[in-house]
Structure formats: structure tokens, C-alpha cells
Symmetry: C2
Subunit: 254 residues, 2 copies
């Protein structure tokens, strides 16, 4: 039987999503908005160190818009060291340059790293300082990595909740497979070329009858121009039927 | 001399950055926070259609934190059609599924497209609906493309200013060249291998003298383990000097 002291304790499940840690937040509104942003992007674990206005906070609840459960489940801590004690990897969100040698990552890179860490059973957290002073250096040394959001160098100070939002957003997007561009296709589909050619021929026949495609020697160029215009429009099969109805109606009444 | 009517008016400069258009926004706080988010990511042109509480709005100013100029320069419009009249490409930010056939893009894809459009002299704008009702269908048909932020399907409603923030953030990042990960290098640099080997040898000599690397047959494995541990730590040249000072101090007092 192996010596029990030789056993390294290993988690048996993948670690949960990153924890958001607010250190000395001042305004309840921002705590509430941070909770809402967390829920928007499927984070759920909030820790708060010494909130200025105590806890629970009515303004936080009012501003959380449907993310009240995150506030109810939030854990309070007296010290930053306690708040990060069980974590394996901690990021410190700050825009400031410090006289510390520490890796600095973007929110997007942090998301990449935290996904990898999670798969490696490491629980991650991101610390955010209070609205006025940000993180102090003693908190900062508890972090592995600084997280800095690229922004306007002349106006880089992000609102606390918006900073939480960007971190949560990048975390979510890292595992999101939404196609960058789709066309909604409720009850229709793009027109096929046969349908488009039938539209061209219908329109051209009526335009010849009405005298628009005139003089005849200019007709081929005019037809190509109209066909190109319609081709570019990405019509659906339903659009083509609507247009042909409109053409028929116009032609009947001319 | 060509017929003047044959001339197409062409802009001579690249179009400016995208315009943010808030349609019937309700809360001044959100208008102010949107302006702040715009300035964080170098957008500057704000248009507002029928703000509920009139204009100017004290709460907007109070919540804009240094982006007051964007509010001062904001243009008011009576109708959405007027607000988008000079634009060539309009995105409609909405989470809702509509019974309209329209392309839907992510904020990241919108940033790609708007950069390309800008280079093609097309001026772009993004419309955002009011907090309660969002965009109505008559506004929506004025847009080329729907912009939908991927989010938690069970809680997809983003705060208005936070939605503006994400669009502005992606616009900014599309042209941003911040490295994903760097190590701050104020007055130092990573240790080179010569410096690390000197540290290894210094430490090992002192550990042999103190009796730690014992018994001798286990020494090679212990040394490799310690070297690996130090190798992983990404020490700087300054760190190595600090450590060697600490080792010398410990050895002297043993």
C-alpha cells in the first residue's frame, strides 16, 4: 500500500468556469451590472472583497436585471488572499503599467489560456479593483498574469462592469460556434439560377413590350446591366415570386 | 466636355469610423455609458433619435466620465430614416429573431466588414433600439444587416451601453496590434541560459555543502528536479541576481 503522503490530491472533474473577483468595489450599480454581464456570458461565480457599502446591496440587486441569483450566491471575503486561496491561476485586470515584471495578456488571450487551464483541472479567477483606485500592488502580486484590454490610449479607463463584460464575452466567444455571417431563412431559401433567369426573361419581355428597352441596338447592354443589378441583390425564391407578381401587375395596368 | 449628369459623386477620402445611432433610448445613464464606451474604443460620432427624456440629459453627462464631448457633439434626429440618410451601410443591433430575411453577423464579423467598407469609401452606422422594446420592424428594414452578439441563450438581453461597448471594442480590436501576451520588461530582461546555469551551479554547490543533496546516488535526480523547477519559473536576469544573493546569505548564516 503506497504511503498516503505520496499521493497528490487531484480533482476528478474539469474545473468550473472562471470566478469573477471584485476587490473593494464602490458602487452597487456596478456590482449589479457585472452580475448581469456574467450571466449574459454564462459565468456564475462571483466573489467580493470588502464592498464599500456592505452586503447585500440594494442598488446591486436593482441593476442586476435577472442575474439576482449570482448576487445571492456571491461569496464575501475579508482579504484578497482568502478570495483566491482555492484558485490555481489568477488574472489581474488593470490598465496601469506597474514596476513589476509580470506577463500581460489581452482578454482574448486570457480566454484561450483559461480554457486550456480548465481542461487541465486548474480553476481560474480574474480580479478587478475598485472604481477609483483599481488594484493595489499587494493584490497584484497574488496574480499570475495582468489582463489589460487594448483601448484608446488617451481614454483607457473602462467602467468596472464593462471590464467584467469584456472578459466574460471573450470567455464565452472562445467556445462559441456562432457563424460570423448567416442569412435568416425562416420559410424560404435563396433563389436558384433557374428562378432568376425566369425572372430576367419575364421582366425583359414586359420591358420590350412597354418600350423601355429601346433603341434595339442598346438592348443587349441594358439587359446585362439589369441582370447584373438583380443578380447582386441576393433575392430569395419568395422575393422572385413577389417581384414577378409586381411586374405582371404593372404590365397589366400599363 | 462630359455631361455633368454623367458624373457620379465620389468621396475623396476614406470614410470616417462607424456612427453609433441610439433610437428612442430611455435612460440617460445608458446614453452616457455608451458615450464613454465609444471613447474607450475611439468612436466619436453619436446620433440620437427621439430620446425619451429630451436633450441635453443631465444623467447622460454625469455617466459619461470624460466622454462629454461626444455628448456635446451628438446629433438629434426626429426619424430613423433621417438619422441614417447619409450612410451607405447600416447594421441593426438586435438579439431578436424576426420574420425577415436578412443577413445576421456577429460583432466581430461586423468589424471586419465595416473596416472593408470604410476603405471602400462607405460610411457605416450601427442602430441600437431603446432599452425596453428594442428596434421596431420599420427601423429594421432600413438596415442592411442584423448584428447579434452571441450570448447565453437563456439570458441574452444585453444592457444598451454594454451592447454599444462590444461593437466598439470589436471595431477597435480589428485594427489593434497589441500582442496577445507580453512580459513587462521595465529595467530587466529574461535571464539567459548562462545566467541560469550559473544559478544552478551556485545553488547546487551550497546544497551539497549544507547536506541537502543526500544521499549521493539520488543527487542527479534531485538536481534535475530543482533545475527543472527553476527553468519553469521564467526568471529575469534581475531575479537571478536576487536569488543568488539570497542563497549566499542563507549559506553564510547556516
Amino acid at each position: 500500500m503506497p504511503n498516503e503522503q505520496d499521493q497528490v490530491e487531484r480533482p476528478v472533474q474539469r474545473a468550473g468556469p472562471p470566478v469573477i473577483i471584485l476587490i473593494e468595489p464602490q458602487m452597487g450599480e456596478n456590482i449589479g451590472a457585472a452580475a448581469r454581464a456574467m450571466r449574459n456570458f454564462r459565468l456564475s461565480e462571483l466573489r467580493i472583497v470588502r464592498p464599500r457599502d456592505g452586503w447585500p446591496n440594494e442598488k446591486a440587486i436593482a441593476n442586476s436585471s435577472g442575474a439576482g441569483q449570482i448576487l445571492e450566491d456571491a461569496k464575501l471575503f475579508i482579504s484578497t488572499a482568502d478570495a483566491v486561496a482555492d484558485l490555481h491561476r489568477v488574472y489581474a485586470a488593470t490598465a496601469r503599467q506597474r514596476d513589476m515584471v509580470k506577463a500581460v495578456v489581452t482578454p482574448r488571450q486570457a480566454a484561450v489560456e483559461m480554457r486550456a487551464a480548465r481542461s487541465n483541472f486548474e480553476k481560474c479567477g480574474i480580479m478587478f479593483g475598485g472604481e477609483r483606485a483599481g488594484l493595489n500592488n499587494d493584490d497584484l502580486v497574488l496574480a499570475d498574469t495582468v489582463l489589460t484590454t487594448p483601448s484608446n490610449p488617451e481614454f483607457s479607463s473602462l467602467n468596472l462592469a464593462q471590464c467584467v463584460l469584456l472578459v466574460a464575452y471573450e470567455w464565452h466567444l472562445n467556445a462559441d460556434d456562432t457563424p460570423p455571417r448567416i442569412v435568416t431563412d425562416d420559410d424560404t431559401r435563396p433563389a436558384n439560377k433557374k428562378e432568376l433567369v425566369a425572372l430576367f426573361e419575364h421582366l425583359e419581355a414586359e420591358l420590350i413590350a412597354s418600350g423601355f428597352l429601346w433603341p434595339a441596338e442598346k438592348r443587349p447592354a441594358m439587359v446585362r446591366s439589369i441582370r447584373n443589378m438583380i443578380q447582386r441583390a441576393n433575392f430569395t425564391e419568395q422575393d422572385v415570386r413577389t417581384l414577378r407578381g409586381a411586374i405582371a401587375s404593372l404590365a397589366r395596368n400599363s
